[in-house]
Amino acid sequence: MRVLIIDDQRFIRETIKAELKRQLHYLEVFFYEAECGNEAIELIRWHSQKEETQLDLIIADLKMENGDGLAVINFMAASEISNTIPLAVISSSDKRTLELVENISNTFNLYLIGVYQKPVNISLLLQQLKLLKRVRKQAADKAEHSALLSLEQISYLINQENLILCYQPKIEINTGEITGFEVLSRLCQKGDGFIYPDKFIPQITQGGLSTTFSKLVLEQAISQWMLSPRFLQYDLSVNITVEDLFDQHFIDFVINKKQLLPNTKLILELTESHETIEQDMVLRSVAKLIINDIAISLDDFGKSYSTFDRLDCIPFDEIKIDKDFVCDLDRNSQHLAIVESTIALANKLKVKAVAEGVETLSVLEHLKSLGCNMAQGYYFSPPIEGRYLESWIGEYSGEGCNVITS
């Protein structure tokens, strides 16, 4: 194992060396040292020339003369090796500075083990390195099996023949009643089972096919709602992207489709995207939709950095709290805090709060006490295919609306 230690104090380098030797006594460890960033960069450059001299770990201090830790990070980000050598940053700076450095390294896609305050806990560092290696290996294995579909495959796949929609119930927490359903799409090809949105939505968006796809989904969802008078009382939520709002044909298409369901509330869930929303055209589209009795919902709240802007300029009907924050809020106090303040924000703005990803009774009870209006998730039901929807509604309503007390 080859370890490069970068610190301007010899004492620190020696301590780290001694500790690594002790912890990795079963391994042959070669140490390389640098007093400053510039010296380190030369060493990294030299070592990466050949396979057999590759470094296995870099431990770098932040504050040094002649090139600091950030210079090292910048060099690694700019060169191709950034993603292959594990890096641990050590510093005596305060916690918030360390967090900032961590964010910077993550945006550069570095192989960052962590940012540690001095004195460094080497055993923790090694443990996290081991875990990270495992996770990366699993991710690589997985990527091999589940590579994203190519754009060509996607454009071939997106038509009504391969589209299957599932519907996930939205439940009013206080009464346990069904208020509506969110439409979730699956693509099906031959005998390959279901392909989930995380594998095709990025490509669809990238390839500029988003509006074509949204139309297909709306078309199938609306014909599902027209199959039975029983569905008409339930809200129908369909996901759209900001790109869709730039397309006037799409807006007219939605308004036309909505006229087929005069008594059903149609909600368009706006998912995150990097597009800015303040453009006139987008706002005009939103106004046109709202005038035509179509509600807009802010999806994945908390996931995208631009959500506050949006909240300010669009009269949303509801905020949907992302499932990553909801599903473990009874175990993760940070997530609980985020959900709690989102619900408070929604209440102040007089907008409904919908929590996604509810899987257990314990999470549901937390949400209830926080004053959340609606919930969605596997606790109520996994997404349901159209052909089972009516019988599911019957079963759920028959069992009574006392899900919370059961």
Partner: protein, 319 residues
Amino acid sequence: MTSTAYSCTNDNSSHVFSMFLKQIRHENDLSQEQFCLRLREESSLFCNLDSITISRWEREVNIPSLAKQAEIVELFGKELFDVYGNDHQFISEGIDLVNYEQSYTDGRSIHPYYKEDSYTIEKIGVEHHCFLFFLRMILQYEGNPSIELVSEEIIKDEYASLNIMVACAYGNQVVGHCLYLDTSTHEILKLLNFKSGLQQVITSAKGVNDDSLLVLSSFGATSQIENSMMSIYINKFACSKPLRYLCFSLCDETLIKKLTAAKLTPFKEKLYEKEEVQVTIVSFLISRSEVMANRFLLKLAVISASRLNSMLNTMVKGG
């Protein structure tokens, strides 16, 4: 497009779904147009369907995805499993997946002393004198900290809901196993969110609200044994209509890889952390129609216990 006269060609090579379509249309006395109209009226998946497409399906010019086939088959009161489970061609494709004679092309064995040989499969009930031994062995193999045995003293009756199957080769070498039980999705979600353990899942399995089959471990020394162990619970799942979800909670990377290679997407990948232990637990939650829409799982589903046994018996005699 006018309706084509129904003609029954008993050609074995024609596609099972095309045959089903022709047959069901004949039984219900529907023309292709009428049939098309009926699908459009009863399912949103066929909102754009035209009768030309139906004619193409019947003539095997193209065949819809298994997922869409399932919708049509169910509109006429059957399941894809019933249709494919009666097709000799398809069953033999399933049998090929577990037939050891095929294994020469593969040859992979993860067992040090076992290559290709006959083996037998035995159910280890709670009354079996080695029940606890096998249970511990399987749990140790899987290494899933969320389903540890909490106490040493266990009340055997409580464990009656657990199904253990073990594959043994010569000299009682264990070359495969599986551990599964029927339970409810609520119990599974509790387990996957670390809100309960093995004990709770077992004791809460009452049979009344069971809508899921939960697999906790499944292994085979060769991919044929692996497939035969899988066929045991997948066939059981397919045969039992109240079961709506097939779930896996796993740490064993071999099976996780196998499931992802079969194009299944994990439901959750969750890190279990307790003191020094850090393990990733990968779970799958597959709906009944997803099982049927997946060609690999459907092939395993049509291998009934009796078919598997007769195949193993011929192996023992032949080997």
